[in-house]
């Protein structure tokens, strides 16, 4: 497994995430897409720290870990907001949440 493999995989993940975010008709799926994006980044950091930076420098992995944490926090907030949306709009289809426009 070389660096390229990891990068390709993360690129695929990133693209999938973007795709999900753009196309899914459900807020939860969008959240998943976002998670995919973040994880692709984490994968990048881990891979780079493994292959590029000197072994004693683990900053890449640290960033990855922070990334996971922040992703979790973001997910929590996101879900909370989705609840609020469901309470107000009775639906979590993003395209129905469009009272603010213009």
């Amino acid at each position: 497994m070389t660096l390229q493999h990891y990068l390709v995989i993360s690129a695929i993940l990133f693209t999938l995430g973007i795709f999900a975010v753009l196309t899914r008709r459900n807020a939860i799926s969008i959240l998943m897409g976002i998670e995919l994006i973040l994880n692709s980044c984490n994968l990048n950091f881990a891979a780079f720290s493994r292959f590029v930076t000197p072994p004693e420098d683990i900053s890449g992995q640290i960033i990855a870990i922070f990334g996971i944490v922040l992703a979790a926090a973001e997910a929590a907030v996101f879900l909370a907001i989705i609840l609020a949306i469901y309470r107000e709009f009775g639906s979590i289809r993003p395209n129905e949440v469009d009272t603010l426009k213009g």
Partner: protein
């Protein structure tokens, strides 16, 4: 001494006007404005007689800096020479008489004080014009008299006809004035000054600096300045305002539109004498000649007594122009003075007649107002279209000669005085001033024609001569129709009566003034010297002014004037004029021929009109029918107004189609044809252009901006995924752009 005198002459009338103005501002009126103004004029008159004694052979100038800039200064000042002195006397004299006459004539008018205030203002402006020594000053006085004529023509402004007439007068003359101003600009750019006299003045510079190469633009400048005279002196083709100007009170017509203001054009041309070139003189001569003839022919068929006099004025002014153009400087000015008196006399006389017809009512002019209101109402329906129709075609009954007749018993003084004036204007020999001046002009023209010795210039002389004959004819027609024969309108006739003293006295004085003896008191051969015309002939060296009798200003020779003219012919027209001084054997061949011929045509004219209008052996009607087309031509004043009207109506229709929203700007067609065209078409067009195009573009820009704003808004759909898509698209686009770069 002279300065103080001139200042006094100027200040008196000005003060009289100022009093009125200030009181008017405070919303009071000064009941005895008439006395004030008249007194002011009389003082001025006295001063100008004193001034006459002051005049010394070489003229004097007194100037002050008016506008001083870094590189140039415009000065204002007096120029006093014999001509100035004479003009001063003419103006003050006529003006005073008119003042006195008006006391009777305008009595009971609601705006009586205002009338005299205007008269004073006019007198001031006219005097300022006369004495000022530079073109700028002349121009200022020029415009001011124009203003006064505007105010006085429109004195009874309730009449639409009067309102129109005054506007027409102002605008028509203004057209000429612009020409004059352009001429001034040309002179200024060349000489960097506008003062005429002195070594720094235009004349000196023109004499010294200009070469034959400059003749072209100098001629143009001369003609352009003459344009001013065309406007003010009602020469062709800007003459149409003068007949309409008769809407003003008759004394005004006498003062402004016969004696003084209209003569200012001649005065100006005479002042410009030294820089007139061959070409410009010719132009002036022809304009004058044509005007003289055409106006005379029109006058034949008028029935409105004032209109007849108006056209005769135009034609006489043409004479003077012709004289100046032909180089007979003295003759021109002499005719100016004589004409001033007898024409003023004629107008005042006609005024007295009109007044007589008015007097049937206690307050003549109130009645006149009613009557005018009525006919004004009558014309409201076609206010939109031209009121040029109204002018002339409608003759107020009290001015219509067809209502008159046999008045000589009723109003003897008026009759006698007017008769004298008529004899004078018709050029009846020897005892009437008009004869001498007119004869002098004819002689001058003939002499000039001979000297130009090219056949076609004789046409000038022929025009002048025939004009003289026709003048005699229509003037006596006027006399016969008014004072002889049976009264045609009985009840008006019964009411008629001789005018009060205040009106007859001025008539008598003027009658006396129409005798040459009196004129020669101040108008004398050696006394008025034609200035050199360096550009007319050989370069201006050694022109010796004739100085036979010195500047005493007194010469009791009856023939003094004609001698002077004769002298002038030799002097002025020989290249050097060395024997200009021997004015005694000055009777050139031209002079004799001219005198004889003029006597003949005058006699012929009088005789014919006696046949037509007194003996009635010949009936005007039959002649009319036989020469219908010619008669129509005359009757319609050569279709000048009709032409303008036609143009106007056509334009009005066209405009109504094109620029519907500008019906508001449909005009009463008073400005002459050009004025009408520009005003209607261009005004409407530019107005529309401004609203539609210029403003339109601006608003279009605004709309577009707004629309784009709307577009951008629509992208903001409110659906989050669209936003995200835009983000991604944006990123990709940015990357692509920068790969492309």
């Amino acid at each position: 001494m002279t300065v103080s005198l001139i200042s006094l002459i100027l200040l008196c009338p000005l003060a009289a006007f100022a009093v009125f103005g200030l009181l008017g501002l405070a919303n009071r009126r000064f009941p005895r404005q008439d006395y004030l103004s008249t007194a002011a004029m009389l003082i001025a008159l006295a001063c100008s007689f004193l001034l006459l004694r002051e005049v010394v052979p070489e003229p004097e100038t007194h100037t002050v800096n008016w506008v001083s800039l870094g590189s140039v200064t415009f000065s204002m000042g007096f120029y006093l020479d014999s001509v100035t002195a004479i003009m001063l006397i003419v103006v003050t004299l006529v003006s005073s008489l008119v003042h006195i006459f008006s006391m009777g004539y305008m009595h009971g008018d609601p705006r009586y004080p205002r009338f005299f205030a205007y008269l004073s203002l006019f007198s001031f402006s006219m005097l300022f014009l006369v004495v000022s020594d530079n073109l700028l000053g002349i121009y200022i006085g020029w415009e001011l008299v124009g203003l006064c004529s505007y105010l006085l023509i429109g004195f009874w402004f309730e009449k639409d006809s009067a309102a129109n007439a005054c506007k027409k007068a102002f605008l028509t003359t203004r057209v000429g004035d612009v020409g004059m101003f352009i001429g001034m600009m040309m002179l200024f750019t060349k000489f960097k000054t506008l003062s005429l006299y002195g070594e720094g003045g235009i004349f000196a510079l023109a004499a010294s600096q200009l070469t034959t190469g400059d003749m072209v633009w100098l001629s143009i400048a001369g003609v352009l300045i003459f344009c001013g005279a065309i406007g003010k002196s009602a020469q062709m083709p800007l003459h149409t305002w003068l007949p309409d100007a008769m809407e003003g009170p008759t004394p005004v017509s006498a003062l402004i539109h016969a004696a003084t203001m209209v003569a200012a054009g001649v005065y100006l041309t005479a002042r410009m004498f030294p820089i007139l070139t061959e070409t410009s003189s010719l132009v002036i001569a022809y304009v004058g000649g044509i005007t003289a003839l055409v106006a005379a022919t029109i006058a034949i068929v008028r029935f409105d007594i004032k209109r007849v006099l108006a056209y005769s004025t135009i034609s006489q002014l043409g004479y003077m122009m012709l004289a100046i153009g032909a180089g007979s400087y003295v003759a021109g000015l002499f005719h100016l003075t004589t004409h001033a008196f007898f024409k003023a006399l004629l107008f005042l006389g006609s005024g007295s007649v009109i007044h007589a017809f008015h007097a049937m009512h206690a307050h003549g002019h109130d009645d006149e107002h009613e009557h005018d209101d009525s006919d004004a109402h009558g014309h409201e329906h076609n206010e939109d279209s031209d009121s040029g129709h109204v002018l002339g075609s409608e003759i107020p009954p009290d001015q219509d000669m067809r209502n008159m007749g046999g008045l000589r018993h009723k109003m003897p003084i008026t009759f006698i005085t007017m008769l004298i004036a008529t004899l004078s204007i018709s050029g009846v020999p020897f005892i009437f001033s008009g004869f001498w001046s007119k004869d002098a002009i004819l002689a001058g023209v003939l002499g000039r024609a001979m000297e130009w010795n090219s056949v076609h210039h004789y046409i000038l002389f022929i025009m002048a001569l025939s004009a003289a004959g026709i003048t005699a004819f229509y003037m006596f027609r006027l006399i016969f129709m008014t004072f002889f024969g049976e009264p045609r309108n009985q009840e008006m006739h019964d009411m008629a009566h001789e005018s009060p003293l205040s009106m007859t006295v001025p008539l008598l004085i003027l009658a006396v003034l129409s005798l040459p003896v009196v004129n020669t008191l101040w108008f004398n051969a050696a006394y008025v010297k034609p200035p050199p015309q360096p550009h007319l002939h050989a370069p201006a060296h050694a022109y010796i002014a004739p100085d036979t009798k010195g500047g005493t200003g007194l010469a009791f020779s009856l023939f003094g004037v004609s001698e002077a003219v004769a002298a002038e012919e030799n002097a002025g027209h020989d290249t050097h004029g060395t024997h200009a001084d021997d004015g005694h054997h000055g009777h050139g061949p031209a002079h004799t021929i001219a005198m004889v011929l003029s006597i003949c045509v005058a006699g012929l004219g009088i005789f014919l009109s006696w046949l037509f209008y007194h003996r009635r052996t010949l009936s005007a009607e039959s002649v009319t029918t036989t020469f219908r087309p010619i008669y129509d031509l005359f009757w319609h004043k050569y279709y000048f107004d009709e032409f303008y009207d036609g143009v106007l109506v056509a334009l009005t229709v066209w405009k109504a189609r094109l620029f519907a929203q500008f019906d508001g700007t449909v005009v009463d067609g008073i400005v002459n044809g050009v004025g009408v065209v520009t005003r209607d078409i261009l005004a409407a067009f530019t107005g529309a252009f401004d609203n539609r195009v210029v403003d339109g573009i601006v608003n279009r820009v605004a709309q577009v901006t707004w629309a784009v704003g709307g577009r951008i808004r629509r992208i903001q759909t409110g659906a989050i995924q669209t936003y995200l898509f835009v983000v991604l698209a944006g990123i990709v686009l940015l990357i692509l752009i920068f790969r492309a770069l």
